[in-house]
């Protein structure tokens, strides 16, 4: 078994970090391509972004290249359920808040968000959703005056 593991190489988390660093650096460089670099005395808007991006790519290489040679280490398993459910619930809330009002948006967020954890009972989820929505409406919308319609009409 040990033999088998020796042949595989690459430190997963470090390679992922390197990818993120280099990716951000490259994206930043590409986006700041039209910005004026300027001189040291009169720095243009593109001066620091480019310097930072180049440093970022250098750090990415410094993290990534040694990681290629280290023994294999897998990235922790990704569980899609919480990741997707939470993201979709939040994005849904964002659209619902302006178009359907706070009450529906908040009910959606709590009920949809609860699906991220499969163990819950519906009775609990529904009463939690109702309670939190009432609390949110009273504290944030009435109390603190957050500018959001309560109802869709």
């Amino acid at each position: 078994m040990a033999r088998l593991q020796d042949t595989a190489k690459g430190d997963g988390p470090d390679l992922l970090s390197a990818g993120l660093f280099i990716g951000f650096g490259a994206l930043g460089l590409w986006m700041s391509r039209g910005l004026d670099f300027g001189t040291l005395a009169q720095m243009g808007p593109g001066f620091l972004p480019r310097v930072v991006c180049l440093l970022l790519i250098a750090v990415g290489l410094a993290v990534g290249l040694p990681a290629l040679k280290r023994p294999a280490q897998a990235i922790e398993a990704i569980r899609l359920r919480p990741l997707l459910v939470i993201t979709i619930a939040v994005v849904g809330f964002a659209f619902a808040a302006t178009h359907a009002g706070f009450v529906l948006a908040s009910l959606w967020l709590v009920i949809a968000g609860s699906l991220a954890d499969p163990g819950g009972k519906w009775r609990h989820v529904l009463s939690l959703a109702a309670g939190l929505t009432l609390f949110g409406a009273l504290v944030f919308v009435y109390g603190l005056g957050v500018q959001v319609p309560l109802w869709p009409f």
Binding site: L20, D36, A62, V63, E76, L83, T87, A94, G120, L132
Partner: protein
């Protein structure tokens, strides 16, 4: 005004009913989230930041700082009773605290932790009151060149003192700097890195990043890692420590306070680093180091005193120099900024009531926390049995409303969800997200000071080595970098953080 006058001014500010109420609220919230594992002070403060916009500046800041040091008290409760650190800074408390609880001395452990924390908090508050005026009058002589060097030093030192690989932390700072540049360039008015999105022309809001990376991705990670069931408790016994406990712990509390106050000052320092260092120091000076981990009271007293002292003394660089030393202080900086106050030496002279009011409220808050924690411990313990399943939808809702309420637009909420995904990727890549926040808040300051310096000298960078204070900072930075390359130092640093992982 003399020192006593200023302190009096502070107490008269802190003791107004509204400020007292927000101090209590912060302390309660801090204890609450300290007790609950899975919610940290960073996420909580991120969620509450937008709300402080509706409060007077001092009240909001008093509340947020109450959450930070309150969490240090609450964290110990969970550590002792269920062997789970409620906060990262309470990890070492589990080692001896839980063992004490298993021997039926849970009450003594909690009381020593709370009283030690109170003592440490008092000393650290006093340290702020003394160091504040001295340091800030020194900082008034800083020009842009000194600030650039100070920030470079601060950012690099933060990566070395924080846990995790240094290179990755530097990478995270750079990403933070880059994110800080999104939007309209302050000096030239050019649009930078905006994808042409109008919503980004004003830059990305700190709260969007903080809630995305610390709020949303923390929820996702918690749901992934653990089941969402409640936890089992060690039985709680008689609360008051024995005479022997007091005798054994007072020296440990003193040492913990000292080391915590000092480490809190350093960039990247803060509660977590302080508690680990205090524990290893205690083990080193102890006559019976082999007993550590079996329930010795010093093992609880020292780290608990240290984390509380450090939580408070880490306010010093922010309040006097305007430079946040860790991600919690980055949050505090933006809490000040929401109200148009730039922390730093000028606040002390122009708005002394803010500085002294905060200092006084910290001492009052510590006193409140002892009361909240000791007699009411049973209540907090009950809360531990609340399953995460019922908590996270509430956190999710507060996060969403918080982000939305800043500009009343859905764009921010969706952007925060995107940062949640990014934060999740960072977690999988084992990158600590704290330095990113630090880079993000310091980025614009660094850029404008760098520009100003080089504009004054017409592009001649030698000013950085000609000004003495700046030179000292740069030499310190070079020494830190050189130390990182030396293998022997790297080994000690890795050893120092190994206990953290164990």
């Amino acid at each position: 005004m003399t020192f006593v006058d200023l302190l009096f001014l502070g107490f008269s500010e802190a003791i107004t009913p509204a400020n007292l109420a927000f101090c209590l609220l912060g302390a309660l919230l801090g204890t609450l989230i300290g007790v609950l594992p899975g919610i940290g002070p960073t996420a909580t403060i991120a969620v509450l930041l937008p709300i402080t916009f509706f409060l007077p500046p001092l009240a909001g800041i008093i509340m947020l700082s109450g959450i930070y040091y309150g969490a240090q008290y609450g964290g110990s409760t969970t550590a002792v009773l269920v062997n789970l650190p409620g906060e990262a800074s309470a990890v070492v408390t589990t080692l001896d605290g839980y063992q004490m609880a298993r021997q039926g001395r849970a009450g003594a452990a909690l009381a020593v932790a709370a009283l030690g924390s109170f003592f440490a908090g008092t000393v650290a508050t006093f340290a702020i009151a003394v160091a504040g005026p001295t340091l800030s009058s020194f900082a008034l002589s800083f020009g842009p060149a000194e600030y650039v060097s100070l920030m470079v030093f601060g950012l690099l030192a933060a990566t070395i003192l924080a846990s995790g690989p240094v290179l990755k932390a530097i990478g995270m700072i750079l990403i933070g700097l880059l994110l800080g540049m999104v939007g309209t360039d302050q000096a030239t008015g050019a649009e930078r890195l905006t994808f042409g999105a109008i919503e980004l022309f004003d830059g990305i809001d700190f709260i969007v990043i903080a809630i995305g990376i610390f709020g949303f991705s923390e929820i996702i990670a918690n749901l992934e890692r653990t089941g969402s069931e409640g936890v089992k408790l060690a039985p709680l016994s008689r609360l008051w420590p024995t005479r022997e406990d007091f005798h054994n712990s007072w020296a440990a509390v003193l040492r913990g306070t000292g080391i915590g106050t000092l480490l809190g000052l350093l960039p990247g320092g803060g509660a977590t680093l302080a508690s680990f260092s205090a524990y290893s120091l205690e083990k080193r000076v102890s006559k019976h180091p082999e007993k550590f981990g079996t329930g010795v009271v010093e093992g609880v007293a020292a780290p608990e005193a240290a984390n509380n002292a450090a939580a408070q003394s880490s306010f010093i660089p922010l309040l006097t120099l305007g430079i946040p030393s860790n991600n919690m202080m980055a949050m505090m900086l933006s809490a000040f900024m929401i109200h148009g106050i730039t922390p730093g030496p000028t606040v002390l002279t122009n708005q002394p009531e803010i500085f002294w009011g905060l200092v006084a409220s910290m001492w009052i808050g510590n006193l409140l926390l002892v009361v909240i924690n000791l007699p009411m411990i049973g209540l907090w313990v009950k809360l531990l049995t609340v399953p995460y399943r019922l908590l996270y939808p509430a956190i999710l809702l507060f996060c969403c409303i918080g982000v939305y309420s800043m500009n009343n637009r859905i764009f921010d909420v969706i952007l925060a969800a995107g940062f949640g995904l990014l934060g999740y990727a960072f977690r999988k890549a084992k990158c600590e997200p704290g330095p990113l926040l630090l880079g993000f808040v310091l980025g614009p300051l660094l850029e404008s000071n760098l520009r100003r310096t080089l504009l004054i000298t017409q592009g001649d960078p030698s000013i950085f080595v000609e000004r003495p204070i700046s030179l000292v900072m740069l030499i310190a930075t070079v020494i830190l970098l050189a130390l990182m390359i030396l293998p022997s130092f790297r080994r000690t640093r890795e050893e120092a953080f190994q206990e953290e992982e164990a």
